[in-house]
């Protein structure tokens, strides 16, 4: 394809997009539409290149039809393309999984007699934090002061907790419990986030991003996701001097292929460009300071993608190192300080407006024993703590039920799971993402929301433009 036809084509497309889609839309909408236009332009250029560059009219006529759709049916979001009303509302849900079972009782401390502090102190005297930050209006809950960087978000109503969280099928095995939580039941073979995506309908290449080496079980299934080790490394491998030619050769060889690879190869190649342009615009905002470490880097990547408006609906981040069988005071507090400063940097980086559309749920597979073991640590327990951060929350609150700790109120010596984890995740999926029915997400669970979140009230950036009244002339006779 020669440059002249490419330019003409792009101009036509841009005109078309501007004319029909962006006039009169708020800035956020225009951005999304612009993003869709960029993606479409890339696709059209690829498409035209593959066809030899002389079929401009053909592919323009086919926009959104077979030609483009076949290139990457997951690439052009229906919502951004305004081709069909998508179910997504422009919000993002990020789940952070603390792998290894983080000790909730040293994170959110029941620091009053009414909540069971006396029993707690009696069985784990050395593990009750000496530095506590009381949470006003909660009847005696306090945060481990290692989490101090998060306190401003408590004050602004962008931080909440749910203690005593578990669900029926959870055992004290890390692997079983993680698998159960991520799949959403013991009978599901796909992940609950995959099924949420299925309900939200098609989205962009970046609609579901798993930060880490592999796809977490929560995302297992047939919906397209991007697994990104790090945005910085999300580049075509090898010598950059031959990367464009290599990408072209690969794209040509997968042209017209049916099956997953026929979709995923063009999707990946297209995502490279989006990732590169997002990366080019990367830059921490609002004076946020990210600490070092994988978790922090993953959150920084997600902030970059959110700022680039790539259409990310769900994302997952895994953080290991919470299995504190020994020396918990040092091990856990070091992890907590790092996690808190990473999350605080992320929220700061996004800024007060953007984070209204971003909700973070920090979960772990189960809690730990209340009593300290002989190694200054804790063994596997039951009820855990969910942290909620970001927009759309009933923030500044400790939610749900709580059974004050006492020898006779425990579940085999552990914190009882009085609050259902799927109630929390389901409420976020429904109110923040706009998922309709939860029965497919958590098949064996009867949903009973705790009131942790608010229904979405921000105007949807992707709402189809209001129907234009078509003036009809007199009906021809």
């Amino acid at each position: 394809m020669n440059d002249i036809s490419r330019t003409a084509m792009t101009a036509d497309l841009e005109n078309a997009m501007t004319d029909s889609s962006t006039a009169g839309l708020p800035a956020g909408d225009a951005l999304l539409v612009g993003q869709a236009a960029d993606v479409r332009t890339q696709l059209c250029e690829q498409d035209a290149a593959w066809r030899g560059g002389h079929t401009r009219r053909t592919f323009l006529a086919g926009l959104g039809m077979v030609g483009v759709a076949a290139l990457g049916s997951q690439l052009v979001t229906t919502r951004a393309a305004y081709a069909a009303p998508g179910a997504s509302n422009g919000n993002t849900l990020i789940t952070v999984f603390l792998r290894g079972a983080a000790d909730g009782l040293r994170i959110l401390v029941p620091a009053s007699s009414d909540l069971g502090l006396d029993y707690l102190t009696s069985v784990r005297p050395k593990l009750v934090p000496t530095a506590l930050s009381p949470l006003a209006g909660t009847g005696g809950w306090a945060l481990n002061s290692a989490l101090k960087p998060l306190l401003p978000f408590w004050d602004s109503g962008e931080l909440a907790f749910v203690p005593g969280v578990s669900t029926g099928g959870i055992t004290r095995s890390h692997f079983q419990a993680q698998s159960y939580l991520e799949r959403g039941s013991d009978t599901s073979t796909t992940g609950w986030l995959d099924r949420a995506l299925a309900q939200l309908g098609p989205g962009t290449t970046f609609r579901a991003v798993a930060e880490g080496a592999t796809l977490p079980a929560a995302m297992a299934g047939e919906q397209t996701k991007l697994v990104v080790n790090s945005l910085k490394n999300f580049v075509f491998p090898g010598w950059s001097g031959v990367a464009p030619q290599s990408e072209t050769a690969i794209a040509t060889m997968y042209r017209g292929l049916t099956g997953p690879l026929g979709e995923d190869v063009p999707t990946t190649l297209a995502a490279l460009a989006t990732a590169a342009s997002a990366q080019a615009k990367a830059g921490v905002q609002n004076g946020a300071v990210y600490p070092s470490g994988n978790f922090s880097t993953a959150l920084k990547d997600l902030a970059t993608l959110l700022r680039a408006e790539v259409g990310m609906q769900v994302a997952t981040v895994d953080v290991g190192g919470w299995d504190t069988h020994t020396d918990e005071v040092n091990q856990l507090d070091r992890n907590l300080a790092s996690a808190a400063s990473s999350l605080a940097a992320f929220l700061t980086d996004l800024g007060p407006d953007r984070r209204k559309r971003v909700t973070v749920a920090v979960v772990t597979e189960f809690g730990r024993r209340i009593a300290m073991n002989a190694s200054g640590g804790t063994d596997h327990g039951h009820g855990s703590v969910v942290w909620l951060l970001g927009g759309g929350l009933q923030g500044g609150k400790v939610h749900g039920r709580w059974t004050p700790l006492a020898a006779n109120t425990l579940d085999a010596g552990d914190v009882p799971g009085v609050n259902e984890v799927f109630d929390v995740l389901g409420e976020l999926a429904q109110k923040r993402l706009g998922v309709g029915s939860l029965s497919a997400l958590f098949p064996n669970h009867s949903f009973s929301p705790l009131g942790v979140a608010n229904a979405n009230t921000i105007p949807m950036p992707n709402q189809p433009p209001p129907p234009v009244a078509i003036r009809r002339g007199p009906r021809p006779r």
Binding site: T171, S173, H174, F175, Q178, S179, R183, T189, T205, A210, A213, T214, L215, A217, A220, G221, E222, T224, K225, L226, V227, V228, N229, F234, V235, F236, P237, G238, W239, V242, Q245, S246, T248, A249, I250, T252, M253, Y254, R255, L257, G259, P260, L261, D264, V265, T267, T268, A271
Partner: protein, 489 residues
């Protein structure tokens, strides 16, 4: 339409229509080695040419089993021959009683054997059944025992009968820990193993009731482990009393006879027609396509039932079917299969094992498929839709470049110009064609060859001594491995 099963592999090859799924082309040797081996190797192809399909198959069946077919790799697994007690003692003596050395060794030896064992058919079957009776390596409580599942159960019966394999698995300390059977007693029945036995190991979902799960769990109580993590039948923990599960019933009248009652039940399950169908379906998905025909599945199940639950007759049925030979291109290489096939096709040797095996381990981890490490009990998924990841795709493209360009320590350096073969090509186009034959076994589609030619930016007629290949060979070779002809199989 009924699938034809031919009397020999050669007859199946000769009589099947010479077709494949586009864009791949008919190429029986490549098909065989991409399905019943972990990929092609120049030496394997030569062996196939010498002995023919049936001869190659017979030689594969005659290979030593266990770890013995590749002594160099086996020697790397220094802990795999030990008892759980001795493993623990070794770990303690070497600094960490709870260390992961045994589990890491098992991963590395498995990857090493998949890559370098001459007993490829055996390794493929071992991989299938290790996933069918999955016990996640690197999981809780198996750090001294996981190898016994591999050594004493899967490898022992991979070429034997499924009944023997199932019976051994129900007395394996790693399996008993993984599915909580070791903790299940008459007073506190744990249904975990009983459920997975019915759902995953044998008859499959929809063929039993919840009461069957409970009865199965009760019948198997008493199977536990001793303080040294060896299997132990403890009659005091066994539930006594008549039990029936599906079409099986047993008086189960004594605690002492509880183990035999359980074995009778397991034997019943192994020879159940629903188990036959389930194994046949999974094997056809593994070896033929993500959607095999009911007719082939029925033929494979029949071979299992008619041969006393022996495993090899099922494989033999598949490899003698028209459906198999016309299925080239119907399967996607899963990420670790792509990785191992890459190492094999270049002809890399094992090199410095203490470096190369850990390298393959982290590579398989970065693409999300460390052998034996799938954490739930259902084993790694075997269909293409379960493996969609841009990150692992980019990682595989990176490994194609890394192995073409000898990036990694421990592996020998390779001379890419040797891939041209003899007689040496004299033009750019002939060189590309020769590389494709060497790396994929045959010709690529014309449009793909053209894409490679365009990459070089020169006409096919360009003499090799003036070609861009003088500088770009190391960048062109990985593109051939990135192509659908290598990504599919």
């Amino acid at each position: 339409m009924a699938t034809t099963i031919w009397p020999s592999i050669a007859a199946a090859v000769a009589n099947s229509p010479h077709i494949a799924r586009s864009p791949l082309a008919w190429d029986p040797a490549s098909l065989l080695l991409a399905r019943f081996a972990f990929g092609d190797q120049p030496a394997t192809r030569a062996e196939l040419a010498t002995y023919g399909y049936d001869g190659w198959w017979a030689r594969q069946l005659a290979m030593p089993t266990g770890y013995a077919a590749q002594p160099t790799i086996a020697a790397h697994g220094s802990l795999l021959g030990l008892s759980p007690k001795d493993v623990r003692a070794w770990l303690k003596a070497n600094g960490n009683e709870y260390g992961w050395e045994l589990m890491d060794q098992l991963t590395e030896v498995t990857l090493g054997l998949q890559t370098w064992s001459p007993a490829q058919l055996y390794e493929v079957v071992v991989d299938f059944f290790a996933n069918h009776l999955n016990v996640a390596n690197h999981s809780d409580g198996v750090w001294t025992t996981r190898h016994t599942m591999d050594r004493d159960v899967i490898r022992k019966s991979a070429f034997g009968s499924f009944t023997d394999m199932l019976l051994a698995s129900a007395k394996n300390p790693a399996m008993l820990q993984y599915l909580s059977l070791a903790q299940s007693t008459k007073s506190a029945v744990n249904e975990n193993y009983g459920r997975e036995l019915l759902e995953l190991h044998t008859v499959g979902l929809g063929n039993y009731t919840e009461d069957d799960v409970k009865s199965a769990a009760k019948l198997l109580t008493g199977r536990t482990i001793d303080a040294d993590y060896n299997y132990l039948y403890n009659p005091n923990k066994h539930y006594v009393g008549p039990l029936s599960v599906m079409g099986f019933s047993h008086p189960n009248s004594t605690a002492a006879g509880g183990e035999a009652a359980g074995d009778a039940f397991l034997t019943y399950l192994a020879s159940h027609p629903k188990t036959a169908s389930r194994l046949a379906q999974k094997l056809c998905v593994r070896f033929v396509s993500d959607t095999p025909t009911p007719s082939l599945v029925a033929a494979v199940a029949q071979a299992y039932l008619a041969n006393g639950t022996r495993i090899l007759p099922m494989l033999s049925t598949i490899v003698r079917s028209t459906e198999f030979w016309t299925s080239r291109g119907a399967k996607v290489r899963r990420p670790a299969e792509n990785l191992v096939a890459t190492v094999r096709i270049f002809g890399y040797g094992p090199g410095v094992l203490t470096t190369t095996l850990p390298t393959l381990h982290w590579m398989s981890s970065s693409v999300g498929q460390v052998p034996l490490d799938w954490s739930p009990p259902n084993g790694y998924p075997d269909v293409a839709t379960a493996w969609r990841s841009s990150g692992s795709m980019l990682n595989l493209w990176e490994y194609h470049r890394g192995f073409a360009q000898s990036w990694w320590d421990g592996f020998d350096k390779i001379d890419l110009t040797k891939l041209y073969g003899t007689p040496a090509p004299t033009t750019s186009g002939a060189a590309i064609a020769a590389l494709c034959v060497r790396l994929t076994g045959g010709k690529l589609p014309a449009a793909h060859l053209q894409a490679l030619q365009t990459f070089l930016g020169e006409p096919a007629s360009t003499p090799l001594d003036k070609s861009m290949l003088r500088w770009y060979l190391a960048h062109l070779v990985p593109l051939i491995l990135d192509s659908p002809t290598f990504a599919l199989r």
